[in-house]
Symmetry: C2
Subunit: 118 residues, 2 copies
DNA sequence: CAACATACCTTGTAATGCAGCGTATAGGGT
DNA sequence: ACCCTATACGCTGCATTACAAGGTATGTTG
């Protein structure tokens, strides 16, 4: 209930910006600790700005797994449905610094562009 | 000639991150002054980090135009091929603050995510 | 006229976010 | 017994987009 009414163009644009970004967000989350899919979707929904829906998160996790960046393991619960926990592989952990550097460079470039127009 | 050999995964990722971002970059450029297509492609190639190729820029400009964010006019040159100059419309100029705010929010969220894992 | 730079543009491919589904388990309400 | 909700997994199809590759036309230089 933000009450904020964003223009449809912005909504469409934000959706596009998220492409690729979500990889980064998920890997950053997993850098800290293990998560299971539904938990990730919920966590990013709470953080609001980085909202990742379920229809997005599961294909995404599968892709990251097939790329060898993350690994999964089933965990039986005493009550309820088993959870599939994901964690970073060595490869995934090695990729993160590159992504961080790339992001920082883009961030700086855009900041400069915005400030030039001040 | 960077001499830097980025992993293919990073290259693919960066290409995805650019999705939608390029709209923002072009609009930011046009906020300052008029550009023509080829000039934009060259300018961003010089700045290197924000490189937009010709195959990308022309469809992109057409899309922004059809969305009413930019307008174009032909300019005959005394010598050489006529140029199609683009500039922001009122609508485009009105959208930019929203995009800037959205970008800033994303930027802050990601920064926090990265620092949490420090 | 060949080669190159300028300047416009299109087509096809690959990749991805996400709405909208579907499945199954557990619990609460009526 | 029945429905509804929450949890937790997943998939399919659509729309969108970056970019390589190619095309067209004009002007300059050798």
């Amino acid at each position: 209930m933000t009450g904020k009414k964003n223009s449809p163009l912005i909504v469409k644009w934000e959706s596009q910006v998220r492409k690729g970004m979500l990889d980064f967000i998920v890997l950053l989350c997993l850098e800290k600790r293990e998560y299971y899919g539904y938990e990730l979707a919920r966590a990013t929904k709470t953080t609001a700005e980085l909202d990742i829906s379920e229809g997005t998160i599961y294909p995404l996790l599968n892709r990251l797994k097939s790329e060898g960046l993350i690994a999964s393991r089933w965990v039986e619960m005493e009550a309820g449905i088993p959870r599939k926990y994901y964690k970073l592989t060595a490869k995934g952990r090695g990729l993160l610094p590159e992504m961080k550097a790339s992001w920082q460079q883009l961030s700086v470039s855009l900041k400069r562009l915005m400030e030039d127009n001040r």
